[in-house]
Symmetry: C2
């Protein structure tokens, strides 16, 4: 197997407190086991919520959703579907913006993304669109009608993935990323 | 989605030291984040080895292989392929023996196994057969020729899965297990 090569366009975090999921750009980020320290999704564990109905709400479970990743190509496709100039990764609460892997959302579970520092992320599948990012996209486009209500459909299968840190290290904008797409043989 | 129902036939651990992977039966086990404390595969992290060539050998990575699970049906199929009376989970270094899910090895990544205590495991895919368990099966069948050399082929796609603890709790022989087979919608 050979890795797919992609590129880190932006590294971001949400540290505005629990009221906002909006992220801001960083010069670099240290990926620790658990995610980006200080980010609202940081932690080796998290509380089960409506997304994990297999567990009672509020119980402590392993955090597979430490970081979210979106692709520049899919953000552009969402913007096009909504008829707006752009969809920023900040508005989606993304921690990484990649380019060069257009179908990021379809990346199979267990795929590995390895950065120049040696840091590694393990892909944990599609991040299903929810309403809140659509409201933030709408707030940034007051002249465009019904952006919020059309967001979930427009972003379906383009919303990127969640992942956990498999190996710690630094990640920086401009980094090359080697992506080992899991074909069922990755261990 | 509805869960598949299976049953815990045995709970086992390897605590003979690092020289042996053979497991022994327990009356019950506490699943912690990291696995079964005292088991040779316990840990939130582990060193990358030959199974993870995407990482330099020996670097600390998240441990997706905290426990291994085999099915009674697949153990019986391996024994049949080898022409021997039985293949015990002990010889495969398994931590759990399940019945009622014949195709355990095919369980998709991200599937959830929930036990009566509420403990949960997250399936991380097929455990590819290696030579050592075949040698232990052979040692227990001295009258049967070439069991060791035929093991890897006989056990292919029947060797069970690895998993990590998603929610802590007790697991006991006789427990019912609800298995949520990941169809791409589990978050």
């Amino acid at each position: 197997m050979k890795p797919v090569l992609a590129r880190v366009e932006a590294v971001l975090m949400a540290d505005h407190g629990v009221k906002s999921f909006e992220t801001r750009r960083l010069a670099e980020a240290e990926l620790d086991f658990g995610g980006i320290r200080g980010d609202r999704h940081f932690g080796m564990t998290a509380k089960a919520d409506v997304r994990q109905p297999e567990y009672p709400r509020g119980t402590e479970i392993f955090n597979r959703r430490q970081l979210t990743i979106v692709s520049a190509e899919e953000c552009a496709a969402i913007a096009e579907a909504l008829g707006i100039p752009q969809v920023k990764p900040e508005w989606l609460g993304a921690n990484l913006l990649l380019s060069g892997l257009p179908d990021l959302t379809a990346l199979p579970l267990g795929s590995r993304m390895i950065f120049e520092s040696g840091a590694g992320l393990n892909g944990q599948g599609e991040n299903f669109p929810c309403r809140e990012p659509g409201e933030l996209v709408q707030a940034n486009h007051p002249d465009h009608p019904k952006v919020a209500s059309r967001f979930v459909k427009a972003a379906y299968r383009k919303r990127g993935i969640v992942c956990f840190v498999e190996r710690s290290g630094i990640v920086r904008p401009g980094d090359a990323v080697r992506i080992w797409v899991n074909d069922g043989t990755l261990q």
